[in-house]
């Protein structure tokens, strides 16, 4: 799998306006890579969710966009990174429902569901990095 370094984009995440920009750039890349409309919508939703988390818990962070190319398909890689407090219990954070989440599905678990690959690395005091990928069918 080869990443195209030229197509790496870094977008700082600090304000709501940054979220708008991140969505925009993500949507643009997804369109470029040939994603169907529905998938584009989901990619942008995922960016929104993660960016919101960054602002809410870490105040600031960064999103990195990569385009991916595998044997016969193209994909998008989104890395959302922050230097925030970190997550103490990742398993719990990835679980739906009561009591941490009254409304099922949003946040990390929901984001995981709409992407093809999802990886989270987080340590208390050391920040959080979420890496997710989606492949264009």
């Amino acid at each position: 799998m080869v990443k195209y370094p030229l197509q790496e984009e870094r977008i700082p995440i600090r304000t709501d306006a940054d979220i708008v920009l991140a969505r925009q750039r993500g949507r643009a890349l997804a369109t470029e890579l040939g994603f169907a409309q529905i998938d584009r919508v989901l990619i942008v939703a995922a960016i929104s969710e993660l960016a919101r988390n960054v602002i809410e818990y870490a105040q600031k962070g960064e999103m990195v966009l990569h385009s991916l190319r595998s044997a016969n398909k193209k994909g998008i890689e989104i890395i959302m990174h922050d230097e925030g407090p970190g997550i103490s219990d990742i398993t719990q954070a990835l679980q739906d429902g009561y009591p941490t989440r009254k409304y099922l599905g949003l946040g990390l678990p929901g984001t995981k569901r709409i992407m093809d690959e999802f990886n989270i690395v987080s340590k208390v005091g050391n920040g959080t990095t979420v890496t997710m990928k989606k492949w264009a069918s």
């Binding site: 920009l21 919508v41 984001t111």
Partner: protein, 447 residues
């Protein structure tokens, strides 16, 4: 909900208008946020679509041409998709959860159906919510007769108070310990069982209780037998300890008596110095022997003769000692193929029984003749002790207070026999003598 919805509709319309006027990603982001708000305020996606429809229709009123209208509708579709995208995350979540729930329910059903315990659940007011198939097997009732009905009529009236207090505790969210209760079966018979309840929680509230019930009848019997047996073993052990002490004491007493007699004889006969010295030496040897014997006995808690020479020889010695010390003719007989050695448990038990019996005969029977008989036939070892004494009423003896020595002795002899899987009987009538019979089964593996 009404106020929120009105506000949301207003917001939605404004954002949609913005988008249609070229608001771009800012407007789409707003759409997304509104979708999220809808979820958080527990609105459904249909609600949001209705809101979209309302907003769109209002906007279309101000659109001049039909073509523009079509363009507007098409473009607004993008906006709608964005506002619904959060729902996609939750819908997939529901699917995951439904799946997990289905698997979990199936697992529970399998457990519930194949377990040998009764598993049931009831609601806070005591109504039975579910019963597993085992309930039918155990009680004879059909499940349909009890589901939806109160649990109370199934409970033994004396146990109803316990059941109710447990119910109260469960409804407070406690997990009370297991308790016993009797349940009515279809035939009217009451079945004891052990109940293990757990509160059923939902959203932090107790919505009922799950209970596992184990049929107690078998266990009760087995446990009671076990307890009784354990008690007997402890009694036997205590008794053994006491008798060892008594035996040691008796041994010493006998010996001291013997010594006393020897000393008396010595006094009477006033032998010369040499004879005196010889006598003293003999006595010293006997003392040492006795001390060694006592030490060995207390160390091993078994008479050394028994260990060294086996049952027959040890019993012979007992009889001889008894005859010599108490001037009571004691005949020792063996019949069948009495072995030299038996299992040490058997040997010590029978030895003690002979010892105790002889002691009783000497103390109480005023007999002039005693016979001890050991026979080994067809995998049973039989011990019989007969005397021609005054006899006694075994039942009367059983009524005597436990502080009377002979009662304890009889009970212990019986205990020992039973522990070996054997039988112990006393045939006695006042004036007709006494016969004690002990039968010990020996396994086929005995040589």
């Amino acid at each position: 909900m009404g106020v929120m919805r009105t506000k949301l509709t207003e917001r939605y319309k404004n954002a949609l208008e913005l988008y249609l006027e070229g608001g771009g990603e800012v407007a789409l982001q707003a759409a997304y946020e509104m979708g999220r708000s809808a979820i958080v305020t527990e609105m459904g996606s249909v609600d949001l679509m209705a809101i979209h429809q309302e907003a769109l229709l209002e906007i279309l009123r101000t659109v001049p041409t039909r073509q523009d209208a079509l363009k507007t509708v098409e473009k607004s579709w993008q906006f709608l998709m964005e506002s619904l995208s959060p729902f996609e995350m939750t819908v997939r979540g529901y699917r995951d959860i439904l799946n997990t729930l289905r698997v979990s329910e199936e697992r529970f059903k399998t457990l519930s159906d194949t377990t040998k315990d009764v598993i049931y659940s009831f609601s806070p007011d005591g109504t039975i919510k579910s019963l597993n198939p085992v309930f039918e097997e155990i009680t004879g009732y059909d499940r349909s007769e009890w589901i939806g009905k109160s649990f109370a009529p199934l409970v033994h009236p004396d146990d109803l108070l316990i059941a109710q207090s447990v119910l109260r505790r469960i409804m407070k969210g406690e997990t009370p310990p297991a308790f016993q209760m009797r349940i009515r079966s279809k035939s009217g018979e009451y079945l004891p069982a052990e109940f293990i309840p757990t509160p059923q929680m939902q959203d932090g509230e107790v919505v009922g209780s799950f209970v596992i019930a184990r049929d107690f009848t078998e266990r009760t019997r087995a446990q009671e037998q076990l307890r009784a047996l354990a008690k007997r073993v402890v009694n036997a052990q205590e008794e053994e300890g006491r008798r060892i002490a008594r035996e040691l004491h008796d041994d010493l007493c006998q010996w001291l008596t013997g010594m006393k007699l020897s000393l008396n004889t010595l006094e009477d006969e006033i032998p010369d110095e040499k004879t005196l010295r010889d006598e003293l030496r003999t006595m010293k040897e006997q003392v040492n022997q006795r001390i060694t014997e006592v030490r060995r006995m207390s160390a091993k808690l078994r008479p050394s003769t028994l260990d060294d020479f086996g049952l027959s020889v040890a019993v012979t010695r007992l009889c001889e000692d008894c005859e010599r010390l108490h001037r009571l003719p004691v005949i020792f007989q063996t019949a069948g193929f009495v072995l030299e050695r038996y299992d040490s448990e058997v040997e010590i038990a029978l030895y003690r029984i002979v010892q105790e019996s002889l002691s009783n005969i000497v103390k109480h029977s005023r007999a002039t003749w005693t016979r001890v008989r050991l026979s080994h036939t067809q995998e049973t070892l039989t011990l019989e002790i007969e005397d021609n004494g005054i006899g006694f009423n075994p039942e009367q003896v059983a009524l005597l207070p436990k502080t009377e020595g002979h009662q304890l002795g009889l009970v212990s002899m019986k205990e020992r026999s039973i522990l070996l899987g054997g039988t112990f009987t006393i045939d006695s009538l006042p004036g007709k003598g006494t016969k004690i019979s002990v039968h010990i089964p020996l396994g086929p593996s005995e040589p």
